[in-house]
Point group: C2
Chain length 423, copies 2
């Protein structure tokens, strides 16, 4: 008897009909003799509806209360799925964050899971029940409700799978796997059979949105086998696996586009130690995650500091930076929300030096100016003008994925999942 964790995203439980289809699928797995834990997202659109309500009451709604508000979405879908399972004759039982003590830190809206008390889930499974867990939510040490950020239900699922030492964590979504690029932007994109944890980590952090980055970290750390697949058919999707030799053949395995980017530049700061800290310290304290950071010292004794961050945090961060800029004597602060980040990812880049040059060459040929560059061992990201985003993805996919690498199984890539509707 296997223990199987199945996670269904927002579009997979977006209507009562889909919830019934999920109940069918879950029931079938249970009837095959497996112990099944289901982790659900909120019904598609529900989280945005709730955020909109909060936004109408306050431009910066109190974070603790936003989490109380948003967590109702998953509670609702967990209850509905349990009801649908009962109707089909299965014993099902919903579990909320506080009931199985999904304990997190206290960072509202982006909390990180610290531990899960799997005992209650285990008892439930041993009684023959199907356990239905509300994703995306936890409680901090003081019993406050927290949420895990967009895509948090992925992390709930993998964390539950890790706590139960499940045989597999299946992530059901509205696409059938992980692609080399978003098929809506790049028709040449193809599905990958396997992807390594490290590639998936890069992709998740680059806006591919197939999986929340924390879920990939959990999967890697606790060695949870994850299978990303479609909730609409039974086809094999993409397996996320530890790295193996076969993967090294591929140079670049995916091209991603992240539209959720904003850029802030502090110009002409007197160049002395502590400038970056003065600017970015308060932002970190406010739990805003900064992505790329670039600092250029000029010959004249001053320096420019530029960084990117998610659009949602832009307004809050800008207010802080403008405050700081005065105290450190910066000339001015400029900001731009019309930027995107385009990245190429691949394990093969570790041993091949030429990828960056070919990337820049491709962009130059299309007349696309590069505003910022950031690299890691297995990826290169550039920030460019938003209007060139899709053109850049297609050009880079043609030059670096289709042109350079054979479509070997085992390569990494990135998903075409409609991120806005899932979390």
């Amino acid at each position: 008897m296997s223990v199987i964790v199945q996670k269904y995203g927002g579009t997979s439980v977006g209507t009562l009909e889909r919830i019934q289809a999920v109940a069918e699928r879950v029931g079938k797995t249970h009837a095959h003799g497996h112990q099944v834990v289901v982790v659900v997202s909120a019904m598609a659109g529900e989280t945005n509806r709730l955020l909109e309500l909060a936004g109408k009451l306050s431009a910066q709604p109190a974070e603790r209360e936003v989490d109380v508000l948003l967590s109702t979405g998953e509670q609702e879908s967990a209850a509905l799925l349990s009801i649908a399972l009962h109707e089909r004759g299965f014993q099902a039982r919903s579990f909320l964050g506080h009931q199985i003590r999904i304990e997190t830190d206290g960072a509202f809206g982006r909390a990180r899971i610290r531990s899960i008390d799997a005992e209650r889930l285990r008892s439930s499974l041993q009684r023959g029940e199907i356990a239905v867990v509300a994703g995306f939510q936890g409680v901090d040490g003081d019993a406050n409700i927290t949420t895990l950020g967009r895509g948090g239900s992925d992390t709930s699922a993998v964390a539950v799978a890790a706590a139960l030492k499940a045989d597999v964590c299946e992530i059901y979504t509205d696409v059938d796997g992980v692609y080399t690029s978003d098929p809506r932007i790049c028709p040449q994109a193809r599905k990958l059979e396997r992807i390594s944890h490290d590639e998936m980590l890069e992709l998740a952090s680059l806006g591919a949105k197939v999986l929340q980055i924390r879920s990939v970290e959990f999967a890697k750390r606790y060695n949870v086998p994850v299978h990303v697949r479609s909730s609409f058919d039974d086809s094999q999707g993409t397996w996320m696996v530890p790295e193996d030799d076969g993967m090294e053949q591929v140079l670049v395995s995916g091209v991603s586009l992240d539209r959720d980017q904003a850029k802030i530049t502090v110009r002409r700061v007197p160049d002395r130690p502590g400038v970056a800290f003065a600017v970015l310290g308060p932002i970190a304290d406010a739990n805003i995650v900064v992505d790329m950071i670039i600092q250029n010292a000029s010959a004249a004794g001053d320096t420019d500091l530029t960084f990117t961050l998610p659009k949602t945090d832009f307004r809050r961060a800008l207010a802080m930076v403008e405050q700081t800029a005065k105290t450190i004597g910066a000339q001015d602060v400029s900001a731009d929300t019309e930027v995107v980040k385009v990245s190429v990812v691949g394990l093969g880049m570790r041993s091949h030096a030429g990828v960056a040059a070919r990337m820049f060459e491709t962009l130059a040929r299309e007349g696309i100016n590069i505003q910022m560059i950031s690299t890691s061992e297995i990826k290169i990201s550039v920030v460019i003008d938003a209007k060139y985003g899709e053109l850049a993805v297609r050009a880079l996919h043609a030059a670096l994925v289709e042109g350079a690498a054979p479509s070997a199984p085992g390569a990494g890539g990135m998903g075409g999942k409609t991120a806005a509707q899932e979390r």
Copy 2:
């Protein structure tokens, strides 16, 4: 500094504009130097929307999961009100059932509060915060979410007021107090300044719907001063108070109509001890509350047993009774959902014998047949054909309230609150 508990029903928080109006009122009370706890219902219509979703998935949705589902409504409004209060510069903090341990028994959908851990609320008030409590919900001893039934937020509010030894519990609603009858049915109905606990208890159990019956019990037992008033203006409403001498002057102080009635009759059961228990035992075990019970033994050695219960439980109860009828050898089971209960209530009935006779005379004059009769020390109820319900209320109000009693303050009565939208 007073401790004030304010409860706002579903129509009072039915839109974002109304939530903002509630925030204004709550903030004003806080600014006057009082410690304020707010208890909120779900936004009007939300509970019905959720029940409808559950009903589409299952004709008899799993009770535990219905409570998980429904409790999101109050969670949502508590979070939204807290956000609105923050926006106005107040420190506010929402509390769910599990966070202040509103511990109940395990009867899903109609749980009874056993205890509240007021410590967390007290600390919150001492920090200067406005505490916003999600009404209607609790947790049982095993951390399962429970709900308290229609009107449960009233009970949450009075129970919180009792636990905090609050100076007053204000029940804000969409009418301005308790009336001698429903003004929509009976235009002659008038508002009462005061009403005794005992009269209110009868009224609450008779479908007047101003307050949940449990909340009146709590108020009586813990001597909580309750003020039922309008959330749309500052006028005085109706105070619920201990009985005093002035009240005895009024013979009949209210006439109520309860449409939520269904009737089941088991016919021709062999008349031996244990018949009533055999029929009603399983129903009690299923946590269905039976209202009136009548048994008539015939000369022929058999007996008829008739009882009434809420329409919502009708289908479930009927299935049980049909099962039982076979085992005890009854001739048949008949059922009727087209019935209503009309009641007259008044402390003065204790010392005046003629009320019942005048009630029956009035109904006979209107050609209304009485199907069942039930009496207590201060009320008389009859079950009649549903189509005569409103006519009966108007005739009885004219004969027994307007005709017989002067409109003395301090009399009991019943509310015109639109029960369907509040809980």
